[in-house]
Symmetry: D2
Subunit: 136 residues, 4 copies
């Protein structure tokens, strides 16, 4: 029986220790799309006292994983990139919106825009995944 | 007085809460180069029970920050990318070696190879930084 | 006197031998945006008899140059990437639409979508430019 | 019968109209490696009278195609990026050296360094290919 996007993401989140550490909230999930949110914690800051680029990347990478896996086929990331466009501070709520740019039988291309509470872009992420034949 | 690479990285690490959470060890630091190591913790795993791509990215991004800032000028990342070439598991020791590909007065280009204990590549990272005139 | 986007692009195109070789047509130009079109010629094909990836890249790169320079400040590309999502054949008309993702005083981030006549995506390009203080 | 790297590249070059237009010379070819050279022609310049970024990309992309296909399996590029590190002028001889970073049964990761006659880096290219089961 084919699982729904929400069921697949529930399974993925249940076992995803790092997404849990970041305390990600799934705001929206459907085929090829996902919105996550997260509050910047003190432990997420770097030496400039702003959000470590690795956390913006991690939120975006989780959004990519959820959006691309939501069709039912297991997907694995091949190549990803991120531009850090604005700093974020402790206490800010970040939102990551993942959108599908292109999807073929074997590959998917996605963008994730990470924004702060005032809708300013904190990071712009692009990711390519390999679509396997293994189902959730 | 100009600070040494080791002094600069000590200051950066001292305030870098997330690098501390990852428990990064600075194995080597000199101008334009840096080697970090890290043990994969359970909290760093994703829903496939392998290392979350965001952690490989974060180790590499910290290596980029330390290597590029080590000359004395403050540097900020502009664009970064990573390919996740092999999975890593809890308990594995990872090593990230950052190497300078090109550096001009205003921009620096770096690669970071993240490897496991058997010298297999876990991730290949590339990063571009903007070199500011502000000194450490 | 500040030049208009159309004036700047006219100057750029006038001296751009390779854009002329590709026979690029500027369909639209305004601040931060540009649409170009081009017919795939036999000389643009690769060993698989499909459009050489370098030509899709070149069209997108020209669109990036025109869109980012259109404000009046000279801009130079720092980092660019492209995913080739579908093949294109000789005789097809391609359209490249460049859109601004983010722009600060010193950096600009753009995407370019290259499509064929049936609005299918041939390539997805992302580019970061450095905004200089030198004016056109 | 399995073809040698040189035989495969000869077939690819024979049909590659754009690589022929660029007048690429194959300096070296072996499994996973390739060196190409090219003289910058007037038609390859952009509006700044320097080499159009699309040509550096194209040389690198051809080097990627030859190096990755040389094992015998047909490979197609999935994602590529390039940083233009120095300008090049008409008449300069460029050399592109493609090196394999990682290769699995299904994916290959390569870098290409494009240099001028004084061994200065003109462009740094990274490319990911999909390895198919179809043979040359």
């Amino acid at each position: 029986m084919i699982k729904s996007p929400a069921e697949i993401v529930a399974i993925m989140m249940q076992n995803d220790a790092f997404s849990q550490w970041m305390d990600l909230t799934v705001e929206q999930i459907s085929e090829g799309q996902c919105t996550l949110s997260c509050i910047v914690k003190e432990e997420m800051l770097n030496g400039f006292k702003i959000l470590h680029g690795g956390i913006s990347y991690s939120i975006a990478d989780s959004a990519l994983a959820f959006a691309s896996n939501s069709y039912g086929n297991k997907c694995v990331s091949i190549e990803t990139s991120i531009s850090h466009t604005r700093p974020a501070k402790a206490g800010e709520k970040l939102t990551a919106v993942c959108r599908e740019i292109n999807r073929t039988r074997r590959f998917g291309l996605y963008e994730v825009i990470v924004s702060n509470e005032t809708q300013k872009m904190v990071g712009y992420f692009k990711g390519t995944v390999n679509v396997s034949e293994e189902m959730w």
